[in-house]
Structures are given as C-alpha cells and as structure tokens.
Symmetry: C2
Subunit: 253 residues, 2 copies
C-alpha cells in the first residue's frame, strides 16, 4: 500500500509571539492519524514571503500532503496566497469562481477591496469551500491552503478529508502504569526490540503534591502504535506482564 | 544593540500523533518576547536521530538561542541527548556532576539503569538544574536542552532565563475593534505603510450565533508591536481615529 504522509505549516506571527496558542496543528494531527496519513512535521513560521516560499516548496517535495493555516484574510499582513503563487511561478490574480462566491455572499455595496482580496490566489488554484464565512481556501499541487481561525479551519478541513485519499488508520493503544518511567525503561526497551513493527512511546507525568521532591507521585502512559500490525494485543500483554512483575498496576485507557 | 533571536525545536512523536497538545512552545514564546528575544521559528519533529541532528545543526547556525524540549528521559525512545552529542561530534557519556546529582537524589538501590541514562549527555555539556525531579537538562554551544513534561520544563526554563543575555522587551498594544476585518483592511494598510518600524497584525474572530451565515457577529484584534519604537501611541491613535471614522468602536485590551 502507498504510504501517505503530511506536513503542516502554521503561518502566523501571533503564534510566534506567544499571543495565540496554536490549536490548528493538533486538530489536523488527530484527524490525519485516524485517516492513515502520517504527520511528519509541523512548522510555525512568520508571515514573511521568503520564509513561506522556501518552506512551501520544501514541504511540497517531501510530503504527500501539505496543509497550511493562516494568512489568507483581507488585510495587508495576509500574504500566504501571494507567496504560494510566487512559489509555483503562477500569476496571483482574481479567481473567477471565488470572486462570484464572495460577491454573492456579501450584501450589495459591502463587497469592498479587502473582501475582494480574498478572491485573489494562484492562477490555477482549485477552491476549498468555506461553509461558514464564504471566503474559500484553495488547493494547488499538493498544498492545501486553509485559514487560521480555528472554527472555520476545522469545518473546511473536515470537508477536505472527505475528498482526499486516505490510508488505513494507525492502530494505537495507551496503557497507564502507576510506576516511574525509569523503573520500566530496561524491560520496555526489550519489548520494543522484539516488536519492531510497532513503536512504543513512553510519556511520564508527575503530580506535585508539594514542592518537596519527596511528595510527588506520578506514572507513565505507554503508547503502543503501528501502521502495519493487525493486532497490538501481544505487545500490550507483554507490557501488562512486565508491569505486574515490577509490582505495578496497568490499565488500558 | 545586538539582535537576539531564537528557534524552538519540539521533539516528540506524541505531538505529531495529536495525542499531546504542545504547550511548551507557547510558554517559551511568551517569555522570549518579554525578554527581548525574537522567536523566529517553532518546529515539531519525530523522536528520530537523523531529523534531530539535521535540525539542531540548522538552528544552531541560524539563531542566537535554540531551545529543545522532549526526549531526555530514561526510556528507549529518549534519544535527544545522544542525537545532539552526535550532531556536535562529542562523546555521549556519563556527566560526572549529573551522575552525582541523580545518585544523591534517589534512595539507595533505586538508582537504576533507566535513571543512570539521564546522566548521559554530550561530553562537554553544562547542566541546567531541575529543581523538581533532579534530572538536569543541559547546554551545549547555543543549544538549551529541556525536558518535555510542561511543569518541569517551565521551572527549568524560568531559571535559565535568569542567566542568559536578554534584550529590550518588544512593545505591544492590542486594540479590539467591533468591525469586520475586511472593512478596515485598506486604511490599516495605509497606517502600516506610514509606520514601518512597527508591525501591525490583524486577527479576526467570529462568534457563530447560528449556523446561518446571517447570524454571526465578529470583530478583530489589531496587534501593534515594535522592537525599536519608544512609543506606539501615535500608531494606536491613528487606528482609533480610523475605527471611529468607519463607524466602529475600539478599545485597548
């Protein structure tokens, strides 16, 4: 089976300044894994033409799908569409269909210059419909260009998922263990070495009851996942056996 | 004045799988801007040696500071330290001081192999103390290597901020306007063109009262910021004037 993968490019000064917590990449990441598409990389960059062009082209060459969010609105700092047109040496011009959609959407007299700008995109773009605020995203080559506002981005992305090629979802099981990560490290490595078709991730957490080191409790979530194995049962069983041999308790979460 | 900038490298399969929402980069981003350090890029990559080596070296050459989070724990999937040692052609070995800290921290007999692994780092690393769970991060060249668990990362990062060179904080003012972004786009561009020393970002939001497009309200947050201007008052005044000429209301938030 063809392996499908993806990269996400978050375009936005507001994320790099810490003003906005990016949640778009997490939303897309979850949907991709359910759709059998391996997310390889997320990159957050400035609203800056050179950076956008460079990374769009790099991602274009590396991944099956590239999703960008941000920078396709009506204001001067929205330069994603123009940058992507330049990246692929296409004219940056009014898209007839997008223009009509926006013209119909806004009351007569309200289709101002800012709004018209949202109909400008690379010459050969294909539209991604926006069921909430009309202004479409677009597809060019393997680049899927989405807005930054999460509620709108999410709707558009879900519609997009309906029409792109998907793979078999990644199988994943999470096991919670009430032991410290360090005490299971050696045995877990042996299990990983014996089951190379799956990846075993270990994610500790700590509950600080007081500031004194003596008073914290913690545990670890073990995430077993595989794109190829039909069943993860055997791996999970090994981890459960290991836990009980080490005097701990495990539960599937 | 010397311009200080930074890149953040989040190392973690759990973020790319969507299982974990990264909050570390947002925490660091906020602190950097207050510290006069311009964050240029955030990249989220797999726990994979080649990728870590490549990006650490790239960031090393591009930025004043590079912050990494994740992958320095006790388990087999924690490969950040070893990768960074390789990136700089240094031995990956026990760090005497780190070993002592950990040996003292754990009760006798509990200093197992997994825990010992956390004392292994590039030969010439300098430690970043961990006041919560002892296992230190480290500094090598301009790379600051931090853990992925947010509560621990935050404490360590705040201590780190005390000792690194900082610049003048970026001045930022946010103005909320009850108009649609598109209706201010043209005037805002003129203001931006007249005040090139500051950057003006425009961030729309929408409150969907119903699914029908006729029933949503919205507005826009304008973020005016500058590393160099002493005062942003004049720009803010222009934006307030523009808003009231367009029949809207603005308030500083």
């Amino acid at each position: 089976m063809k392996k499908l993968n993806a990269g996400i490019l978050i375009i936005g000064d507001e994320v790099l300044s810490g003003k906005t917590q990016d949640t778009n990449s997490n939303f897309i990441a979850k949907k991709l894994i359910e759709s059998g598409i391996q997310l390889e990389e997320i990159k957050i960059i400035h609203d800056q033409m050179d950076a956008i062009i460079e990374d769009v082209l790099k991602f274009h060459n590396k991944y099956t799908y590239v999703f960008t969010t941000g920078g396709i609105g009506p204001t001067h700092d929205d330069i994603t569409s123009e940058s992507i047109a330049q990246a692929f040496n296409q004219k940056y011009c009014y898209h007839d269909e997008a223009y009509k959609i926006l013209e119909n959407y806004y009351p007569k007299g309200d289709f101002n210059e800012g709004r018209k700008k949202m109909a400008r995109m690379p010459e050969h773009a294909k539209l991604i419909p926006n069921p909430l605020t009309a202004a479409p995203g677009f597809i060019i080559k393997n680049i899927y260009v989405l807005p930054g506002v999460p509620s709108i981005m999410q709707k558009m992305f879900l519609n997009l998922l309906e029409i792109i090629e998907k793979g078999a979802p990644k199988k994943t099981i999470t096991i919670n263990i009430n032991l410290f990560e360090s005490s299971i490290a050696l045995d877990l490595k042996i299990i990983q070495d014996n089951f190379k078709e799956c990846s075993i991730g270990s994610y500790p957490y700590f509950n600080f009851v007081s500031k004194e080191r003596e008073y914290y409790s913690g545990g670890v979530n073990i995430v077993v996942s595989s794109w190829t194995l039909d069943s993860l049962d055997e791996v999970v069983k090994k981890i459960q056996e290991m836990t009980s041999l080490l005097g701990g308790k495990s539960s599937i979460v």
